[in-house]
């Protein structure tokens, strides 16, 4: 036996009108065949049979009905139909015309509690056309009777929607690993100060790290490739470093291309330009936001201890630069002395590289930052 329920026709009407039956009681109807016409305040709609079967009218024409009420029953053959009729006639003593009313249903105890709590009428329950009414049936009636209150909805900004898409994709598709190393940045900071003085540019730890990453593709080619799926990758053409910039107007990741071919002066100019445009909310061109093959996530505000950003889809890893902290340490003579340190993290796609690779990658940066005087920061190679 299959129940044909009244469909949702519109949200405004509490009740609809069953205008007429298009098929007679006891008639064999086909799947998809219109069997009744139901009218709302706006329109009349045909209700169709959801499968083949012998039709039984649960309610008479010109009667009111609601969404989810049982309108008709479809029996798979004459035997179950006759049995149903016999039982109904035997118990209910309905007249032959069949006014559509069926005997009152039996409620389970928890259904009765819920019905009483919400004042659901006996008639309303009878109209469900079921013999046994469970808690879930009453709950459906209660939900239908009390439409959900309209809640205020606001959409996220476009930029954040794009972020949501990227991080969701990352979370869904990339199994990450994470590792971090501690870097003594005393000498890097001194070196950056000297470079800034000489070039009259704003040069700090981020600029040095960008330049350092530019030196790594030859030694660590796998960290710059583009995964293509099926355990294949596209080799990198160089280091194109995306930088996370968030000055309160949303997160942007503009790209510094071909870092390996740029000197520290040029890098500092590009970074300054990006920061300025972010602060002024002037936006970035599409070309400036794409084609990175590695990202440096800048979490270098004071007191940030560690950062574990998500790997961007299409990348192998992301470097996280935390803030500079001061700590006491034993110097070479065993005396306690202050020093500045910074934690450098790497989140990586574990399908392509392993923890050991990640540590070697970070150590390479650490070595450069802890002995910066030996490097040619202005050079383009």
């Amino acid at each position: 036996m299959h129940e044909v329920a009244v469909p949702r026709l519109n949200a405004n009407d509490e009740t609809y009108l069953l205008v007429e039956w298009l098929c007679a009681e006891g008639q064999w109807v086909r799947h998809g065949e219109p069997i009744a016409v139901v009218e709302t305040s706006k329109t009349a709609t045909e209700v169709t049979a959801e499968r083949d079967g012998i039709l039984h009218h649960v309610r008479p024409a010109r009667s009111e009905c609601r969404h989810n009420d049982v309108l008709a029953l479809l029996f798979p053959g004459p035997t179950p139909y006759e049995k149903f009729r016999a039982r109904r006639d035997g118990d209910g003593g309905d007249d032959e015309d069949g006014d559509g009313s069926v005997e009152g249903p039996v409620l389970t105890n928890s259904a009765r509690l819920l019905a009483d709590a919400h004042g659901v009428s006996a008639e309303r329950l009878r109209n469900l056309g079921k013999r046994v009414i469970k808690r879930a049936d009453v709950a459906r009636v209660v939900r239908t009777a009390e439409p959900e209150p309209e809640v205020e909805r606001r959409e996220l900004p476009r930029n954040q929607r794009a972020v949501a898409e990227v991080v969701s994709e990352s979370h869904r598709t990339i199994p990450p690993g994470f590792v971090a190393v501690k870097v003594n940045v005393d000498r890097a900071l001194a070196c950056a100060g000297r470079l800034a003085h000489r070039t009259r540019r704003l040069i700090g730890l981020p600029e040095l790290v960008v330049k350092a990453i530019g030196w790594l593709p030859a030694q660590f080619p796998l960290f710059f490739v583009t995964p293509l799926g099926d355990n294949t990758v596209r080799p990198a053409t160089g280091a194109h470093v995306g930088l996370t910039i968030d000055v309160g107007n949303g997160l942007f990741v503009p790209v510094v291309r071909e870092v390996g071919q740029l000197g520290i002066t040029r890098i500092s100019e590009i970074l300054l330009d990006y920061r300025t445009r972010a602060v002024q909310d002037r936006g970035f061109g599409p070309g400036e936001l794409s084609d990175a093959n590695i990202v440096l996530a800048l979490h270098n505000d004071p007191d940030v201890v560690l950062a574990g950003p998500l790997v961007h889809p299409g990348h192998v890893c992301v470097v996280g630069l935390a803030g500079i902290c001061q700590e006491l340490a034993l110097d070479d003579e065993g005396a306690v002395a202050p020093r500045k340190i910074c934690n450098l993290g790497l989140t990586y796609d574990h399908r392509l590289v392993n923890g050991g690779d990640a540590v070697r990658f970070l150590r390479a940066i650490k070595t450069m930052l802890e002995a910066p005087e030996e490097l040619d920061w202005e050079g383009d190679g």
């Binding site: 179950p80 049995k83 016999a86 039982r87 118990d91 005997e103 039996v106 389970t108 013999r131 469970k134």
Partner: protein, 338 residues
């Protein structure tokens, strides 16, 4: 029009058999009118079929033996054992003669013998007049076990037993005699019934056929009222949907019509009045575990009487025999265990 009582239906079926074939005999103690049998199942029959209905001395073994001889000579013989407890007195005739003769002579020898066994307790008759001995006759080659059901015209069951060509025991729950046959698919205001096979061998009782059942209770005819009562309270009070399967043939059991339903159920529970140990249910459970292993969420649950004699005092008898509350408790306990 009210439906006939089960014992009236049984009486009509016996009359139908005697009427249809003068080579049909009905033997047993105190069958003849005006007494008409201890439970009145044969009332009026000795008057209508005097040569075929024979009241016998109190000699279960000889009476079943005589019936076996009648069957051997090509007749149909039905024996009423006054209380099924006494069928133990005819165990040799049933197991070693009637059942074996069907095959032990190297050829198929039809033995159309039915031993009717008024069975079960709940009438305060005490330990030797209240038992359900079905389990003692299981696994005897050539022997089939049937049980009286309020869902099936007994004449159909008798025809089936006779057509089998082998000896059969027909267990008849004594309390069922005075209750009414169920007709037209109606059990009560809540429950309906239908049959899973065309011959009507297995009846199914259900209240709400929308969902897969939480539990399928398999029980013989004598347990129907207790099972329905348990199913009702579980539905109303616990929102647990039970369907009840009532097979007319207990052994050998035909699983084909019931397997689709068993596959859908969260729990399968076999209910019977036999005492614990070596039960019909244990045999069914073993077979079901084999057939549905990997699909079952939990082991088949057995509900049976306690491992005890059946006391005469009503309150003590209740504590031993299966009650509707016993079934409900068992089902809830099994469903609570993942």
């Amino acid at each position: 029009m009210r439906s006939e009582r089960v014992v009236e239906n049984l009486n009509r079926a016996l009359g139908g058999l005697l009427d249809a074939d003068p080579n049909t005999y009905l033997l047993g103690e105190d069958l003849a009118d005006p007494y008409g049998g201890a439970f009145k199942a044969t009332k009026g029959l000795s008057s209508r079929y005097p040569g075929q209905v024979l009241s016998t001395p109190i000699s279960e073994s000889a009476v079943v033996g005589v019936a076996g001889g009648l069957a051997l000579a090509g007749n149909k013989a039905i024996v009423e054992v006054m209380f099924s407890d006494f069928v133990t007195l005819a165990f040799d005739q049933i197991v070693n003669f009637a059942s074996k003769s069907v095959t032990m002579y190297g050829q198929w020898v039809p033995i159309r013998l039915i031993v009717r066994c008024p069975t079960g307790g709940r009438r305060g008759y005490g330990p030797t007049h209240s038992q359900s001995l079905q389990k003692h006759f299981m696994g005897v080659p050539g022997l089939s076990l049937y049980e009286l059901s309020p869902f099936r015209d007994s004449l159909a069951t008798f025809h089936e037993m006779i057509a089998s060509g082998g000896p059969c025991l027909f267990f008849e729950d004594k309390v069922l005699y005075t209750s009414r046959m169920y007709l037209n698919g109606v059990v009560d205001d809540l429950f309906s019934f239908d049959h899973l096979d065309a011959r009507g061998t297995v009846a199914r009782v259900w209240a709400d056929d929308g969902d897969d059942p939480d539990c399928v209770l398999i029980c013989p005819g004598g347990l129907v009222h207790r099972a329905v009562s348990a199913a009702r309270s579980m539905l109303i009070e616990d929102e647990l949907t039970c369907q009840i399967l009532v097979p007319a043939k207990l052994y050998p059991f035909d699983f084909e019509p019931v397997l689709p339903l068993l596959r859908q159920s969260r729990l399968i529970c076999v209910v019977e009045d036999s005492t614990a140990g070596g039960t019909w249910g244990a045999d069914l459970a073993h077979a079901i575990h084999g057939l549905l292993w990997g699909r079952l969420g939990r082991p088949v649950r057995l509900v049976h009487a306690r491992d005890s004699v059946i006391p005469a005092a009503a309150h003590l008898e209740r504590s031993v025999l299966v009650q509707d509350s016993t079934i409900r408790r068992a089902v809830k306990e099994s469903l609570a265990n993942a």
